[in-house]
Amino acid sequence: MSTLTDRYVQATLRRLPARQRTDIERELRASIADAVDDRVEDGGDTAAAEVAALTHLGDPARLAAGYADRPLQLIGPAVFLDYTRMLTTLLVSVVPVVAAVVAFLRAVDQAPWLTVVGDSLGAAVTTAVHIAVWTTVLYAVIERTPALRLTPDRPWTPDALPEPPSRRARWGELVAETVILVLVTAFILLSPVVSTEHDADGDPIGVLSPWLFDTGFVWVFIALGVASLGASFSRYYLSWSLPVAIAGSVVPVTGAAVLGWAAATDHLLNPAFVAAAGWPDGTGTWLTAGLIALAGWTLLQTIIDAFAHSRRS
């Protein structure tokens, strides 16, 4: 038996379970020999006939997959939809949370801005890659082990269609947003005159930094809040369009950026209040970090919302 056939047979058997090998080897060798003989009879030398016969049989990996009844695909149609749904769900839910948590922890460490953003993005990418790899591996295993498909294919029914968010639910959100804005605005405006702490003269010490009021910056916050509410109302009453979406995204993004900046530059809390209330030194840092995380979250939410809308329309 020539080496070329030997190598072909070995390459095929290598990919087969041991108990099948003996029988398949015998049959395969006989089949190859028959094919070679046939070609030699038609005129031609043995070596060329062997090459032709093996070429005709094709890639031994493919032949072995046929013998072993192995799929020649990583994830087949039976589980592909479950796979993509699982992957999307995990990516959309886990990655933003990890990114936010890392950004928060880095901000607490008072790392420079660039480090906060870089580490957060790095963690997001690493998490996404891990999720993608392990989910793919899991479903590739399920594809090859039918016993693992615990739930038999659930028949699809129209009940599974995604429901558009109801108008009433969105109206509820709008009302809640309005109430929150009014409360926050009241808190901001009353903060210099109403406080739990008082100085030596009995005057109240505002919880927010006096800088905000001295520079009039506080009005920027309130204006942004009102604009954000306006954007929400226009989203409710106008049908989705690109200009509305952009206007709706610009406001929260600006708000998040301004809030983050004010917190990071220590222009948010009144240091005198922190001292008078006897809050621990770290309070300001934690609050800053929390606000930055919140700002980041708002930004992310806006982006996700925009994507969801643009896909729905």
Binding site: I24, R26, S31, L57, R62, L63, Y67
Partner: protein, 111 residues
Amino acid sequence: MADDELLATHLQELRRGTVVLACLLVLTEANYGYALLDLLGARGFAVDANTLYPLLRRLEKQGLLTSDWNTDEARPRKFYRTSEAGVALAGILSHDWDQLDTALRILKGES
């Protein structure tokens, strides 16, 4: 034909499955892999060796074919033969094929 590749795909889709029926019918007389490949090719059922050989084993595993090693000749060969279950399945498949043929004729207005 504008797109040979497309035509080839459609033909392949149409013929998929007929090889099984052809094997079950032709193997009522015992035969071995390479000879069967030749025979099917000659009868108009062109099939690749790397498709046919695994297919024979799959059908054997499903109990539609039985096999015997013939060691009378210098080269031992595995002979396959259609089992009773295989004959029964061939009957059902043939019947279905005839029904399809009738249905197509009706569609073409030849009835």
